[in-house]
């Protein structure tokens, strides 16, 4: 299995991808910065957003039961899925019951997380992604590289070639306007004829039973309004206590995500409405590791995330390594904390180490998730876990740390080691820095370590004591 450094190494060599990502995140940063600066109460909104999420996670059981009651009272059906396999089974079964050979889909990270599309295809059902970027990624048979702009790694020329080939439209130019028009034409028939849609959800309101989707293109409205059957899947952490809480998140999300005062469309519905929209509505509530995260008092704030992707856009590592290096549908700083918690530290590779802990993500997060703190916490857990294995017990790092513990624990040994280090410093010192450390070549290649002082503080103190 490849790890983050080796994947990042590959993507760093892709100059075109790096140019595409840099251009896009620079544009988003400018736009979000401008509209956030407009709100004098931005910090108060962040405080409230964070507090509402803390409150919701503290009474999640009550809120989910209340949500279920409200949705059922409004003619909807609520399903519960312990893990991805159970969620796939529920959704595939619901689609099969409609006999529809195709489903139209709204961009949803949660359906990516449970790997729904391959399961639908295996059951002979064709999933059609309707978000422009998701459609690009699906047609190219690639993976998303950004939470919000999944095709951020592709430029207009690459998208043009893709559409020319996949839509048999050789006349297409690389003008985004023409490319967008081509997508409109390509999807229109699917919207008006497909009887089943699958969506994610940005939030649900326990008090009223409302579920909401925030979007820009109108593909969401098409999927939520025109089919007979709507199936939505939502992580259990997305529930909000009350209707009023929307006033906070409908301000935080668009400004932090796309840099708009409000995104073009928000759809909010409760169960089914006679004469308006689908006649059947199913909500699948997904756990898939979320209750495990909830049980970790430091990491549980990961579940505050509203998927705005602002942490990706401000992250120096994401900007250079790109989204594919994270090997997950959740990339960037939030991906670095979320992926290992969802998949397990060992299986998720090393994204928790893919950060310089610079703190830009924490500062930018609209719900103030302390991502660096969670990263350090997860790194600690990863080191603990690897120390428990035999290979880990015999690793240079473990042995070095064990001998350091012995030395620091014994005054005489500590003094002796310092004297020895002073001797080493006197021997190899260049400009006050140690050039290369024997046995730690790769590590000391990229880090400069100050040489040990020729005389330790303890030695100096011992020397000066009689004069005092």
């Amino acid at each position: 299995m490849s790890d983050f450094p080796s994947r990042a190494h590959t993507s760093l060599k892709n100059a075109q991808m790096r140019r595409n990502v840099r251009k896009a995140v620079t544009t988003i940063r400018t736009k979000t910065g401008r509209v956030i600066a407009e709100r004098a109460d931005w910090q108060q909104l962040r405080d409230a957003g964070s507090a509402i999420k803390t409150e919701a996670l503290g009474s999640l059981d009550t809120l989910l039961i209340q949500l279920e009651e409200r949705i059922q009272a409004a003619g909807g059906v609520v399903h519960w899925a312990r893990d991805a396999a159970e969620a796939r089974q529920i959704i595939v079964g619901l689609v099969q019951a409609t006999d529809s050979p195709t489903v139209i889909k709204i961009k949803s990270m949660t359906t990516d997380e449970i790997e729904l599309n391959p399961a639908l295809e295996a059951a002979g059902i064709r999933p059609i992604e309707t978000d422009l970027a998701d459609m690009i990624v699906q047609l190219a048979n690639e993976k998303p590289s950004h939470l919000l702009v999944p095709a951020i790694h592709k430029n207009r020329a690459e998208i043009r070639s893709l559409f020319q080939a996949e839509m048999s439209r050789p006349e297409l130019t690389d003008n985004p306007r023409d490319l967008t028009d081509a997508a409109r034409t390509y999807l229109r028939d699917h919207f008006t004829h497909t009887r089943v849609a699958i969506s994610g959800a940005n939030f649900a309101v326990a008090e009223t039973g409302a579920v909401g989707v925030v979007e820009s293109e109108g593909n969401g409205r098409m999927c939520l309004t025109l089919p007979d059957t709507l199936i939505s899947i939502m992580g259990i952490e997305k529930v909000l206590p009350r209707w009023q809480d929307l006033e906070v998140f409908l301000q935080l999300l668009p400004r932090a995500a796309t840099g708009e005062r409000m995104n073009p469309y928000n759809s909010i519905w409760t169960g089914v409405t006679p004469g308006d929209g689908p006649t059947a509505f199913h909500l699948v509530l997904l756990d898939n590791g979320r209750t495990r995260i909830l049980a970790d008092q430091i990491a549980r704030q990961t579940l505050h995330c509203i998927r705005c992707s602002r942490c990706l856009n401000v992250c120096p590592v994401y900007e250079r390594a790109g989204g594919h290096a994270y090997d997950s549908m959740y990339q960037g700083p939030i991906g670095a904390v979320l992926t290992p918690q969802l998949r397990g530290l060992a299986e998720a590779g090393s994204p928790a180490f893919a950060s310089s802990l610079c703190g830009a993500c924490h500062e930018a997060c609209p719900v103030q998730i302390d991502i660096p703190r969670i990263l350090v916490h997860l790194r600690g857990a990863a080191v603990e876990a690897s120390r428990a294995t035999l290979g880990g017990k015999l690793s240079a790092e473990t042995l070095a740390m064990a001998s350091a513990a012995r030395i620091f624990g014994n005054a005489a040994m500590f003094g002796f080691t310092q004297d020895a280090a002073g001797l080493l410093g006197a021997m190899v010192q260049q400009d006050g820095l140690l050039p290369r450390l024997p046995g730690l070549g790769a590590w000391s290649l990229s880090r400069e370590l100050p040489a040990p002082a020729r005389q330790s503080f303890r030695a100096w103190w011992k020397q000066r004591k009689p004069q005092a």
């Binding site: 405080d47 503290g58 409004a74 985004p176 409109r184 109108g218 308006d276």
Partner: protein, 216 residues
């Protein structure tokens, strides 16, 4: 144990202490005068490329609709069954939606609706399926959406609108918040207007009167 019981049990085993209700120190109440609110709304939706027409009262709406139709080459409108007579121009073909098929709806180039509420700060109109709005598909499949907003329906900030929509939310009504025409920035983060929803949104602001005016 079924999935529901098991997930709830896991939550109960892991939940921390209940937290206090959140402090809401952000702006709640509108601070602008009605005139300022109206001009802020007009300015903000103009930023989205929306054409704004202001009229003095409801009787002038039909003329404004006629002019927009002429300017955009629209010869056919769809409306909800309760669309007021004073909004409907005589010389434009009008189809009332009484359960039209999706295909029939998609063949009509423009939709004329009212709104439930509007937000000046964000340039948003909110539809809740109430008076003169009809079902959601009306304002979705058309290329042009003409929306009539009364000045009295415009609030300044998002919290004021959410508070005003609370009764409809408790009644389970479906909401659509519309802030400009459909758009995407998925290609190089270049904004393109007119993706799957209407390509153009035109807003007619009625300075006096209210949306609850007697139906004709």
């Amino acid at each position: 144990m079924n999935a529901r019981e098991e997930i709830l049990a896991r939550i109960r085993a892991s939940s921390g202490p209940p937290s206090p209700a959140p402090a809401r120190d952000y702006q709640h109440a509108d601070a602008l005068s009605p005139g300022e609110t109206l001009s802020k709304f007009a300015g903000r939706i103009t930023d989205y490329g929306v054409l704004v027409t202001e009229v003095a009262n409801e009787t002038a709406v039909a003329d404004a609709v006629r002019e927009i139709c002429a300017a955009r080459g629209i010869g056919h409108l769809v409306t909800s069954p309760d669309c007021p007579g004073p909004w409907q121009p005589q010389d434009v073909m009008i189809t009332t939606d009484r359960g039209l098929s999706i295909e029939a709806l998609a063949a009509i180039p423009a939709a004329l609706t009212g709104a439930a509420c509007a937000i000046a700060e964000t340039g948003t109109v909110i539809l809740d399926g109430g008076f003169a709005q009809g079902r959601r598909a009306i304002s979705l499949l058309a290329d042009f959406h003409l929306c009539v907003v009364f000045a009295a329906q415009i609030v300044e900030c998002v919290p004021a609108a959410i508070a005003q929509m609370a009764p409809a939310a408790r009644a389970g009504r479906p909401f659509t918040f519309i802030s400009g025409p459909s758009a995407t920035a998925d290609i190089e983060f270049d904004r393109v207007q007119g993706v799957h929803g209407p390509r153009q949104l035109d807003v007619i602001i009625v300075r006096t009167g209210a949306a609850s005016a007697p139906r004709s």
